[in-house]
Amino acid sequence: MFQTGLLSAGGRRNLVLCLLFAAVIGFLVRVLVGTVLNYGYDVHHWALVMSNISSGNGLYDITGYFYTPVWGYFLAFFDLLQQSFLTLGETAFRVTDALEFEGYEGYISANTTSLEYAFWVKLPLYLVDLLVAVLLYRLVLGYTQDCRKAAAAFVLWIFNPLVICAPAVQGMFDNVTVLLTLICYMCLQRRYYFTAGTMLALAVLLKLFPVFLLPLLVAYLMVKEGRGLRRTLPYLLSAAAGFLLVTFVVFLPQVLDGTLDMCFTFITARAGSGADAWHRFTGICTVLIYVGIALGSVVVAASYYAYAEGDLDGRLLTAVLVVLTLMFLYPPTPQYLVLLMPFLIAYVVIKDRSFRRPLAVISIGATGYILANGFSLLLSLACGTDLMSVDTVISLAHAYRPYWYVLYYGSAVVQYLGILWLACSEIRGRVMRIIPPKEWGKAIPGRRPQVRTAFIGVAIGENPLYKSR
């Protein structure tokens, strides 16, 4: 599992023991945090989705599931395991004493889940975190051949507060997207294009955001295989076959039962079907912004295709970071940022330690954002144990209510400042530089004459014209 490079036998053993220790502690921290703090609004939805599946209504016949189907299939798998091996009893319930929460700002609900259910539905996410840590270790080792750096990446992931809280508190599955994206990334590096295509399809159909990486990954494949459509077509087709096969299999049930449109309500509902004109307007703006981000990701991919040479993998890591930063310039909810974490951590460890500062700021801001619902997160614990009463939780939540804004907006600002810091760090010539218009159209020395900056406008990485300052 852990390749340890050139270390001695004793050093290898110590390193493996240290990483196992970190993994165990990281796992226990997640169990503890996930037990004490539970965001009922999201987690009770997973219980609803499972019950809809169990009642024979699939994912979309009864409302409750708003994403493309992949996470629903994961939940169905968990449901099967729970039904087959566990006896959880009542999974979700509505707490009358906590109904006042629903008058509070934010998505706070009086619905919550039992501690047992919350544990079992989050447990696979904790295991995914461990898998991602191992992959990140191997990714960094592949780049650096330095097991200490790889171990640093492992630890930075395992103990990142955002990475801990998104699945443990919210029960959010963004780390599964990370796992799939990382597998895709590593498969591409190793020329397993069909598998890479399948993993990217699953990642995109799980939470859409990795779709913005698609142009860049296609560019990487083409550059890696020698550029030009004729040379790269077989490899592109292999990757496309994996992508399309998974897409077909995932959507087949909805195509057959006529609920395909329901798979995209998470997008379409934001694009204009809200209850009032303001929601419709902001929904359309959101979609337009994402179209802009998609165009930006195409520009980055084109830049990569035009300039990348030599250390293709190193430049890919840089370009991925640029695309993800671009994507998150539109303020995200905190759990989305989990997708940024492994690539930012890898960049910090492999390329530029100074990026640890925006990493820390983003992590702290996003974690605060997740915890902004304050004492209401203790409701499951109060309902399921004698450690505290529901009345105590309600009193604490009530007392905290006037300060909700401070943590919610404060941490959102910190989170976004971290993203801006990251973007600025990239723009300041370390990673990316906007090419001034006066230089557009100039041929690049030593490159094929048809590659001109006019086509691109952005240069990524340490290319011959725009070296880091």
Partner: protein, 342 residues
């Protein structure tokens, strides 16, 4: 392929397998449920998986819950439906989408007969006796084929003859829908036609959320009722021969079942919501009525097998008994009603 890289491909294969199995579980109808009950108070519930179960024994007096359920939906006729906020990413909660989901809920509750009706069909239904029949109307306006705001209307006499009306959205009886898509307002006193003279309905204040349970019965928990909005709801004290269940605020209850002649009117408070829809399914499926008295309720967990039980307290009952068995609690997956005449 290098030796160390088998793991990556194996991991990808495992993930694909999990997704495929999950897909099969989602659409393969892999879970089985069954139940039985008899007049001696014995019941059993089977679950191929594992869920919480609830067995509710109710004395319904002389009332028999409807065995045929009709659902009114006519896109051409006028209706008064308010846009409501739904969860982020959820489909807009329209009248037809609400009813579509309600039907899906009622199907797993084993409701034997579910029929959609348009305004003409509703007129036909209400031209007959209402005994044993129930109709769900959430259009906010009754069509002019059955209602004009007077006591002689078909809708009113159908109720008196034994029909049951399940109503949600808007003030009951306030609006009349017409074939051209318009609506007019009924004369004052419309609520009294359905709920009895003196009936008071809650207004449309900004915050109509209730924060406490209705006292006097435990149906809020035993039927897993969730909707705490009391907009348009009935003031409990303003109607006689009625049962209030669910949540309460300032005397208005989220669900009120009131006697109307030989029939019944059931008003669900609040704007459209998924909680309201689930409550409606639970109330319809449970067969409770304005005179229901909960005799006994058993709860527990059934796991990969059958749970059997016996209601012990049958001696004091004196009317139609109904046993409602369901699995899953707040998020139910199966249910069935058994009725036994006195």
């Amino acid at each position: 392929m290098r030796k160390g890289e088998y793991g990556l491909i194996a991991l990808a294969a495992v993930i694909c397998a999990v997704v495929l199995i999950g897909e099969y579980v989602t659409y393969g109808d892999v879970f089985d449920y069954d139940s039985s009950a008899d007049a001696d108070g014995n019941y059993s519930i089977y679950d191929s998986g594992s869920h919480s179960y609830t067995a509710v024994l109710t004395d319904n007096g002389s009332f028999t819950a409807p065995t045929e359920l009709y659902i009114y939906l006519d896109g051409d006729y006028g209706s008064v439906v308010h846009d409501v906020n739904v969860e982020v990413g959820a489909k807009k909660l329209t009248q037809s989408y609400y009813l579509e989901q309600l039907v899906n809920n009622l199907k797993y509750y084993s409701v034997p007969k579910l029929v959609y009706l348009d305004a003409r069909g509703l007129e036909e239904l209400m031209s007959q006796t209402g005994q044993g029949k129930g109709v769900v109307i959430i259009s906010g306006a009754l069509p002019d084929t059955v209602y004009s705001g007077t006591s002689g209307d078909k809708a009113v006499s159908w109720l008196a003859s034994g029909g049951t009306l399940y109503w949600a959205g808007e003030f009951i009886g306030r609006y009349i829908g017409h074939a051209d898509g318009s609506c007019t307002e009924a004369p004052s006193g419309y609520a009294g036609l359905f709920l009895g003279t003196g009936a008071v309905l809650n207004g449309e204040e900004e915050d109509t959320r209730a924060y406490s349970d209705v006292g006097g019965n435990a149906y809020r928990y035993d039927l897993s009722l969730k909707n705490n909005d009391v907009k348009y709801a009935v003031l409990i004290g303003s109607v006689s021969d009625a049962l209030a269940v669910g949540y309460e605020r300032d005397g208005f209850a989220s669900i009120v079942l009131a006697k109307n002649g030989a029939g019944m009117v059931c008003v669900f408070g609040g704007d459209y919501s998924n909680n309201q829809r689930m409550d409606m399914a639970n109330v319809i499926a449970s067969g409770i009525c304005y005179c229901s008295v909960e005799v006994e309720c058993h709860t527990g967990t059934v796991a990969r097998g059958t749970v059997r039980g016996t209601f012990l307290d049958l001696s004091g009952t004196h009317g139609n008994l109904c046993v409602f068995l369901y699995l899953g609690g707040d998020f139910s997956v199966y249910g069935k009603l058994y009725q036994f005449g006195s």
